[in-house]
Amino acid sequence: MPAGGPAYGGADVPDYLVWAILVTIFCFLPTGIVAIVFASQVKSKLAAGDRAGAIDASNKARTWTIVSVVVGIAFGIILGIVLSTASVTHININYP
């Protein structure tokens, strides 16, 4: 059995679970949840010996995490523009 074989040494296949949860809360929830789903797959796929599947899930988790950051920033900018052009009265009415 050569070193670096199909071992469950998950250190080299990051699951991005923490990042996925953070971008779900702080950036953009809809795409963040997808990142969480793929991140959740990584560890159990590694443990099942499905290394290729784990790497695939890991890559997808990273992609969806990056998408969440980008969309979150874009959404924040758009929201900022919309709110700054909206009338103050409107904002006051809706303020909880």
Binding site: M1, P6, Y8, A11, I36, S40, Q41, A47
Partner: protein, 142 residues
């Protein structure tokens, strides 16, 4: 045959997994003790700025209800959380197993390729519909 027994995670990764698992546990205990509905702390910036609910609104109150066995209240606050929770719980259990040096069982082994677009569409629809101030959509509001 020794090659079949895969080694556990390196100790540094296990410590990280353990910290993550404990973080989840602390969150659960905290949400059991504290009722988020009674806390008048910082509200969601999206709600504060727009007066609209985001798809995450009511998540903490939902989890509090669930931790007290009140499924009805939990679903009322945020039904999306209930749908995503099995995935999160699985990830949490897998984290605990990995921290103890074990091998988490396969879960969600195969997902359809449309899972990403499906989750995004469902969540964005939920986001829009729960802000419609009329039944039955208002049932989705926290």
């Amino acid at each position: 045959m020794a090659s079949i027994a895969a080694p556990a995670l390196p100790i540094s990764s296990r410590l990280r997994e353990g910290a993550l698992f404990l973080g989840g546990l602390v969150l659960a205990v905290g949400l059991h003790v504290v009722d988020p509905a009674q806390v008048h702390g910082p509200v969601c910036p999206f709600l504060a700025l727009t007066g609209l609910y985001c798809p995450g609104c009511g998540t903490l109150r939902c989890l509090h209800g669930l931790l007290h066995g009140d499924l009805r209240a939990a679903a009322g606050f945020n039904v999306l959380t209930l749908l995503v929770l099995p995935v999160l719980l699985m990830a949490w259990v897998a984290t605990g197993i990995a921290a103890l040096g074990g091998r988490p069982a396969p879960f969600l082994a195969r997902l359809p390729s449309w899972i990403g677009p499906a989750v995004v569409s469902a969540t964005v629809s939920f986001w829009i519909l729960r802000n419609v101030p009329a039944a039955p959509f208002s049932w989705l509001a926290p």
